[in-house]
Amino acid sequence: MAMRQTPLTCSGAPMLRQGDTGDWIGTFLGHKGAVWGATLNTDATKAATAAADFTAKVWDAVSGDELITLAHKHIVKSVDFTQDSNYLLTGGQDKLLRIYDLSKPEAEPDVVSGHTSGIKKALWSSDDKQILSADDKTVRLWDRSTMTEVKALNVAMSVSSMEYVPEGQILVITYGKTIAFHSAETLEQIKSFEAPATINSASLHPAKECLVAGGEDFKLYKYDYNTGEELESYKGHFGPIHCVRFSPDGELYASGSEDGTLRLWQTTVGKTYGLWKCVVPEEENAEAAKARTTLPGTAEEEIGNALNCQFQLS
């Protein structure tokens, strides 16, 4: 059986969709405010969401049931599972990082303070031994066992997104028109690229050959990671793009936009994968020609204001 991947999208209510086809699996109902962050655990059996209703919730991603509600003192922006799914990291407007033991959800979480403005993203790194967190102007690295700050990085402009790539310990940060790559261990910059417009999100291909980025000019840009050369730009969205993410196998990437759609793009156009069917010209007949779409390499679905998307192998 081929790999099944399931991306998570945030709209009015967070939805779970099949990664390779985009088919809807279910909707998580329960939050009373905008959902700012969503994530799946390693085997896509659990989901966690962060919302403006001051709670983070943990869900059963198979039955759709709400498992745990974690009350916070302000809007929660980011959630991340450890690889063993036993701990949940949360961060939000109250400027505190919280680590919850999911086997004891009633217990008080470990709290890490130090940020001076609202936390936008918080991620486990280095095999869950460290934590990376970003607020408006800084990216900080914390040691989990001592709960202290190891390093801080000042960023020139407001951080719009941050992603961690375990293979190679790379941190992908976007701010302004910049897409920057830093070492996740030292926070030293490896390289950076400038895009033609303000970028809200970027994703590195698993093989680190290329990266995709999207932002305020509604376009998706593909760059060669090694040379920095802009390879392609794709039009399709009718609103600013807020999130792009490659699938774990790198065969497709998803983009979420203010236009209310989530779009799936093929990395190698013309390949048969998911819902894309490579049609050899000799096999065409009149019926097949009518069924073809005119948009190269995209499949789209209206789902609501898509702010966040993430893939998980299952």
């Binding site: 086809t21 073809r292 779409t293 190269p296």
Partner: protein
């Protein structure tokens, strides 16, 4: 650079079906990951189905028969059972005998009915 060729798509992604929240227990994903619980789910569902069927047959059997209703606050009345609505919000009865006289047709609120009984031939 070669001109990009439009790519065929088998279909568009399926969207939410509007009424349910999804996570269908009959989907292959659910079966694969939670299929182990199927036996108890199956047995409970069968029990539910059997009880529901018995309830519906009971209502059907009551139709047209003189029925005795025990209502709240110790009220007891006799009537001829007519019908029940889909959600069992009300029972329609004929010839309802009340202290004020006999009502040709009436509705009894199900929430007021504690029990009712009738004789089978």
């Amino acid at each position: 650079m070669p001109v990009p060729v439009p790519v065929g798509v088998l279909r568009l992604p399926r969207g939410p079906d509007g009424c349910s929240r999804g996570f269908s227990p009959t989907s292959p994903r659910f079966q694969a990951l939670l299929g182990g619980r199927e036996e108890e789910v199956g047995a409970a569902q069968e029990a539910r189905a059997a009880l529901r069927q018995r309830y519906l047959r009971g209502l059907a059997a009551a139709r047209g028969r003189p029925t005795h209703f025990s209502l709240r606050a110790g009220v007891r009345v006799d009537a001829v059972f007519g019908a029940a609505d889909v959600e069992a919000v009300a029972f329609q009865v004929d010839a309802l005998r009340t202290p004020l006289g006999v009502e040709a047709a009436a509705l009894l609120r199900c929430t007021d009915v504690l029990a009712f009984s009738f004789l089978l031939d």
